[in-house]
Symmetry: D2
Subunit: 270 residues, 4 copies
């Protein structure tokens, strides 16, 4: 039609080549959403698992995602730096991920919350960030995991103090000006809690990545081995890959040297 | 933490001031989705109404949207050109809209498809386009409505021919190289269908916009007057606004002069 | 060669269609440059004329420039909003203008400063700004002319006070906390200067735009009529256009209604 | 003034952190410029040296430039990837470089072309390109040097054939469909020219980079050691750095391992 010229107003938003593409998704106003849906405090296991499931849907669909990290109401997805999906168009990548994540969260709600009606549709914001090398990419992931640690340590101590009979104001006052060590000490001496023994999921968040799987038999039906959430759709017989979820420390280099395949070959001298 | 520097890699993506911000959302692979969920052909009334509901959720939440237009698996949202939501950050605007739309679509599915299980979570892509003046903005909307018309006329004729016993290949061949008039003629002479009498919703798509409403009583509960879908949340007593949905021609100037409040004051000489 | 893939790292930077493209150029460290080359204070006539000449070179070369405005060490160039030069690529437009402006300034230096050796090559920075409608475009130009006025009034008063025997510190103290009216008053009562009688060039800056010219004879050689700086290269006999330079008020609408051809047809209702 | 709001239309264009920033400058319509100013063919020594001088002006002024490479009518400047000049604003970096380069070229013209009047002011375009790692950065430089080689080999052969009495058309026909080896062979067997013995400047282009210099005496006046073009302005006594120009192969790794300080520490694992 004679109106087609308006399509030319669309602007090119392709991501710089050679960079790691990170998409971070975060729940919109989840302070209210978690409160309205009575999420357990400080951590709601069902809610966190539902986040992992939504993230797995995204990884299953967008196979160029090599790693995902989630905590609280957020998830970060890392694309291979050579990725060419959607011609690297930022908006296409971003909206497809955010939309599928949201949809899967809403779709799978009742499996994880069979007794809690979803009162209104939840939403997530999202952004694309580019990281030009592996050092800054790892620092990005460390940033999110450090955030998880800081918040969780605080929240764990806060709610223990509240459970012990104090008001929110008193709990906050008690924790003000304490360092990590102080909060650990309060938990241990006052509540008998060794913070390092708390669920890794709560302390470390969730790491999703692909591992190769050798199967004797042809891969039909969902193969669930150990902690594997999903068996994916194997094309080649006997060798396929599936997503594993773990709750490990990714700030330390140990994780990355244990899983050298995730970020792939070093670009020497880059 | 010492990792916080990575936040500086986020790039500013604010939309140019003074422009109309348009967000267009489109179903991802809805060819497959509509087929798997057995949507009626060429138009599924429930599906189209579900789209409208999802769009209303978005408008209710983001009150700076002054107009929305939907057809097929897509919806366009127009923000007031003075809008300052999210500081006009493109990604924030875009992802919040796409996410809420998707969520509402999934959430409201079973109301509109009580007998059809949702097989998998649907997803939508989205993009932001800026239009610097009202002429190009109207041409944008005309482009989408012309697209609706062209597709719907074709599809209506196609499926009538198929219903009459022809194969898909034969129907396509019959319509190849016909103009609008030819398709109208086939519908009328062969199937007794006056295309202009077909449901306006199918021919014109859906237009959502706000109209003021005077209420005698304090606005509690959902006020549904006439075709109004939603009563919104009125803050001031006695005067509030609600979304109306109509299926009018927006290519002609008549619509805009009948509703001068939608696009607001002309910028004289601009 | 096998290295050609690196060209793909170049990013698309085309200017949004339908917007006025403004390029503003500003002298780099001209505080130092004007001082080293002993520019007259507060205004150096030769220097300002040299700026106008450089701007004319740019307009002669890039014929889609419809208007230019200069003052102090800066010049703004306005492109027609339909302009398609360099496919509207921002960097190409910007660098070509800045480079030619700089080159012409350096090249023509000795004509305007026959007795002052150019000590080192001067440089200018530049930026592209998009304005979506004529109102904001005019406000942009008003902003620059208001800046000219404010600085020139201050500088005129400042240097008169200094000439009268005061120190720089004393002059600054005298002017601190005065309004326009106060500075006008000082100039008039203490120095007998009616500010409004000062050279329009100094008070208003320079406006360059095209005017049509009818010529009886074929346009060979430089036709200089009245204030016209340049006769350009006329292609069609008897009708050509040339740049005129004036020093008028462009904040008032009078200027624009006197020269309706500059910004062209209104986009009605835009 | 009330017009200041228009400044908010300027858009943020900061370069992604962590990337090498490359600015490439290229003569505008130098086909015409070189012809009008009767540049020697295929290479004009004065012209190439003038380019080097202009590039040195730029490096002296913008000390974060770690390397520059020039050939034909173009020059590329590489900034340290940690560079924070102008807050990494793309337009500011770009226009300052292009403008100073152009100005220096025009300013120094008559030193290098004492017998050729500059007919009109020359101009250069420019662009910013980001390279996220050292491999692609080196490939970028290799791309430019390979371009130099390909063009120079062709041009050298072409003009030898022309000098021998053939027309331009005949020379072009002779070279069509030849590879590098073929052109080398023609040069050697028909004109007795060993291409590898031709001036390195013509075959390899110019590489500018900083080298440290130890001086016994305090560094006053231009210290010109060996091939050094410029002594810069040393701040610390006894240790300063100056620009060296060389015409080496930068495609091979040898150059980079001989000068490890240029690109600096590897980012291990990046
Ligand atoms: N009770 C409970 N709350 C949680 C859990 N996970 C996240 N939340 C809550 C705590 C925070 O209020 C909120 C996440 O903080 P954000 O900084 O993302 O803020 P919020 O989503 O409210 O606003 P935003 O739209 O992201 O700016 O979600 C959980 O497992 N249990
Ligand atoms: N049966 C039926 N199909 C519909 C209806 N509305 C939309 N569709 C289908 C027709 C098209 O196959 C599809 C929309 O076309 P698109 O161009 O958006 O393609 P699709 O979504 O498959 O791919 P995309 O991911 O957008 O590139 O949705 C409907 O009411 N009934
Ligand atoms: N004496 C004299 N100085 C002038 C004249 N025109 C401009 N200037 C000087 C006054 C200011 O110091 C300077 C322009 O101010 P700017 O704000 O552009 O600052 P400057 O160029 O020093 O720094 P920049 O690199 O633009 O940030 O040029 C003139 O006609 N006579
Ligand atoms: N005779 C001669 N010509 C040269 C020399 N160096 C460069 N040139 C000419 C050869 C080419 O015609 C021109 C450079 O080619 P470009 O691809 O940059 O094209 P040109 O500058 O004409 O157009 P452009 O504005 O860059 O698209 O400059 C030289 O040393 N001697
Ligand atoms: O999706 P299409 O084919 O209708 O056309 P488009 O939306 O302009 O294409 P894309 O989704 O790739 O931007
Ligand atoms: O949302 P916050 O407050 O955690 O911080 P942010 O995500 O960096 O802020 P924004 O969502 O506004 O980008
Ligand atoms: O100028 P060319 O033809 O060498 O190629 P380019 O520089 O990539 O093209 P452009 O100057 O248009 O970006
Ligand atoms: O240069 P100034 O201080 O007049 O102000 P600006 O030009 O807006 O600042 P910048 O040159 O840093 O964009
Ligand atoms: Mg946030
Ligand atoms: Mg949140
Ligand atoms: Mg959060
Ligand atoms: Mg599409
Ligand atoms: Mg679709
Ligand atoms: Mg569609
Ligand atoms: Mg400035
Ligand atoms: Mg300046
Ligand atoms: Mg200035
Ligand atoms: Mg070019
Ligand atoms: Mg060139
Ligand atoms: Mg060139």
């Amino acid at each position: 039609s004679r109106f087609e010229y308006v399509k030319k107003f669309e602007q090119d938003d392709r991501c710089l080549l050679g960079c790691w593409i990170v998409v971070r998704i975060d729940g919109r106003s989840f302070h209210k959403f978690t409160s309205e849906h009575l999420f357990a405090k400080p951590n709601d296991l069902s809610a966190l698992k539902l986040m992992d499931v939504a993230a797995c849907s995204v990884m299953e669909e967008f196979r160029d995602i090599i790693f995902a990290y989630g905590q609280s109401d957020e998830y970060s997805f890392i694309f291979d730096r050579k990725m060419s999906l959607f011609n690297r168009r930022s908006s296409k990548i971003l909206t497809n991920l955010v939309s599928l994540f949201t949809s899967s969260y809403t779709y799978n709600w009742r499996i994880h919350f069979p007794n809690t009606e979803l009162k209104y549709p939840p939403a997530f914001d999202g952004r694309v960030v580019l990281y030009p090398n592996t050092i800054v990419l790892k620092d990005y992931l460390s940033w999110r995991q450090a955030d998880c640690h800081i918040n969780n340590l605080y929240n764990t101590a806060f709610w223990e103090i509240v459970k012990s009979g104090k008001s929110h104001v008193e709990a906050a006052a008690r924790l003000k000006d304490t360092f990590s060590s102080g909060k650990n000490e309060i938990l241990f001496s006052e509540f008998g809690i060794n913070y390092n023994k708390i669920e890794p999921r709560y302390r470390k968040g969730s790491c999703l990545f692909w591992i190769d799987k050798m199967t004797e038999k042809s891969p039909e039906g969902p193969d669930t081995v150990g902690e594997f959430i999903t068996g994916g759709a194997c094309k080649k017989p006997r060798v396929c890959r599936e997503i594993t979820v773990s709750h490990e420390d990714i700030i330390s280099e140990v994780f990355w040297s244990n899983h050298p395949q995730i970020l792939g070959q070093d670009i020497v001298n880059s």
